[in-house]
């Protein structure tokens, strides 16, 4: 409610580790954090889609965030978690090495990303939070799905529409 009247000076983040680096997403987009559980592979899906899992009766796609961010593939550990985020009306699970903390940081500590370091394609990086002990990369959960993926999605919807219209015609 307050966000309409004044912009909050702070951002609440969920911090997690990936391949010895520190990442974070806005806690507003995080639905819940669950332990690793059985994931069903989906043949034909993008390489970074680990599969689908059951979140209390809901089918949720799970992305391997290491693969998505082109980080070295790691082994399994007990610390691994699935961070379930809301993207539009859907939930998406992100596999991370471990969730470290939930933190409030002022906006003043966040620096916009530099395209020299991360490359031009990294539009899913919102910025870098400079904490005392570490640098944290803020991710835009909405943009974690590749553009290719989105195009494929819209293409298949388009196909259905044209089929429907030819029934009527």
């Amino acid at each position: 409610m307050n966000s309409k009247t004044k912009t909050p000076a702070e951002l609440q983040l969920v911090l997690f580790d990936l391949a010895s680096e520190h990442y974070a997403v806005s806690s507003q987009s995080v639905r819940e954090i669950i332990r690793m559980q059985s994931i069903t592979r989906v043949p034909g899906a993008s390489a970074f889609v680990e599969g689908v899992t059951n979140l209390r009766g809901r089918i949720v796609p799970v992305l391997d965030l290491r693969k998505r961010l082109a980080l070295p593939v790691g082994g399994e550990s007990k610390e691994m978690r699935i961070v379930v985020v809301e993207a539009g009306n859907d939930y998406v699970g992100l596999i991370v090495d471990g969730v470290s903390e939930v933190l409030r940081i002022p906006y003043s500590l966040i620096e916009p990303p530099s395209s020299i370091v991360y490359g031009p394609d990294a539009d899913y990086i919102l910025g870098i939070a400079k904490l005392e002990t570490k640098l944290v990369i803020l991710l835009d959960t909405g943009k974690l799905l590749s553009t290719d993926e989105k195009q494929a999605v819209s293409a298949s919807t388009h196909g259905i529409e044209s089929e429907v219209s030819s029934v009527v015609g």
Binding site: R41, V49, V52, T53, N54, G57, P61, V153, V164, V167
Partner: protein
Amino acid sequence: MSLATDVTAEEMQVFLEEAEEQIALLDRSIVGLEVNGGDPQLLQEIFRAAHTIKGSSAMLGHQRMTELTHAMESLLDLLRKGKLKASEEVVDCLLQGLDILKMLRDELVLQEESDVNVAPAVAKLREVAGKASITDRRRSGDSRSPSRKSSRHSTAGCVESAEEPSIERASGGGDSSVEVDGNDKGILSLARQGERRVSQSVRVDVRTLDNLMNMVEELVIDRSRMVQINRMLESKYGDDNLIRDLSRTSNHIVKVINELQQDVMRVRMLPIGTLFGSFPRLVRDLARQQRKTLNFVVEGEDTELDRTIIEKIRDPLVHLLRNAVDHGVEAPEERKAVGKTETAVVRLSAYQEEGHIVITLVDDGRGIEANKVRDASVQKGLVAAEEASRLTDTEAMNLIFLAGISTVEMATEVSGRGVGLDVVKTNIEALGGSVRVESKVGQGTKFTIILPLTVAVIQGLMVSSQRTTYILPLSSVTEILRLGPREITTIKGKEVIRLRDRIVPLIRIETVRCIERPATNHDGARIIVIAGDMRKTVGIVVDELVDQQEFVVKPLGKYLTNVRALAGATILGDGRVGLVVDMPTLIRTSTSKN
């Protein structure tokens, strides 16, 4: 001409819902007038619907709607009293009024004023009503109406009513004073009856129902999980009192969930009549346009079906109906020439059979010539000539569901471009149903559509392949074989089997592709699920057959929609996710990749 908005949104909602109901009723019944013109019960029903809309629109202050429905009501009153017969002209002008009424309703729904002018329709209604006196005198001696039956029927009514000298009253048809007097009591009591009925039902938002269904589905999943845990506990701790209590309680919960599931599913059911209702009008208009006379019979409107299916079956049905009127049924002269009755019969029926809904569309038209379909398919390169000649006539006829086939040379405005029947089939299969055609040349054609009661639950075969669990919808599975390695041969490096006189390629679900000759030898027997139709058959190699049961199908979500051969996912008893295979797509894509 301003939109009446001095009511609350809620009141407007109630009004629109009611109007929707009454308009649907009018849509259904007015066309019926042509067939059984004088049926007093039908007339009473129509009259009441118009009367209701008139009343509620007046309350809303919607003048144009009141004016229009009043004119319709007056005309209907004359019909009801037998002072006018339901001639084609009368029905036409009532339908015209109904169309305007729908436009007025749309205006309210969209909250957007369009220039709907009711004056011409009202004038026409009054003019026709004014003719009542003349018709009365003529006693309909000349029955120019093409529908003989109806005119004869209503003649009786006219003769009766002619006994009372009612010319002056009838001529005042356009006047507001023609209102019902004596009969009002009857209407009132009927209305009261209606009230009593209504008080036992509640309008529910569809979204609430969908939510309810989702929650029940979750319960259903938990149910299977609970049964499993219970069994595990029993085998681990055996005859413990607490365990026994737990089993008893969970057994009870399972029972309640079962009932809950059934009830919620029933709530989502709608009589298929809600869909069929708009068809008589459609068929009538088409027949008119094509100058064909036909009797459209609708049966089994009470048959209940999941509302999702009802929504999605509309387009395919409209397509088949158009085909029937356009191509199936011959023109009257042609029918007469071959010794048939001039009036064709098109019959649309729905009924339930063994957990399925069957919809049939039968016409007594010219039928489909199997050889024409064979030739057309060969010409279009859809089947080889040799293959086509081997098909039985019925098999050949079912080729009309392939893309690009039309046996009618000339495309008309309505249909006949060879686009469509394949889409009809695709759409029906997407609902987990199937469609087939039978036909006898010169005698007619019959389309049979078989649909599941609900889309959310399917009968499926649970199999495992490469450690993933898949659900194969039973509707596409034809048989299951266990074959030794000797019975599998290769053609150009791809594995095939011989199934009676056919060569069937083997595929794996996960690759959606034919299996290359494997590097390692497999010496054990393999389980092969045969699926497909008479044209394309594949053998799906699976590692294990797990179970056969009902599965609740859930969408994979929009991030995975580009995975083509999957229809969705389901949650298994142990909480894991199983993938539901979209069989038609799997078969199509795997065989076209050869």
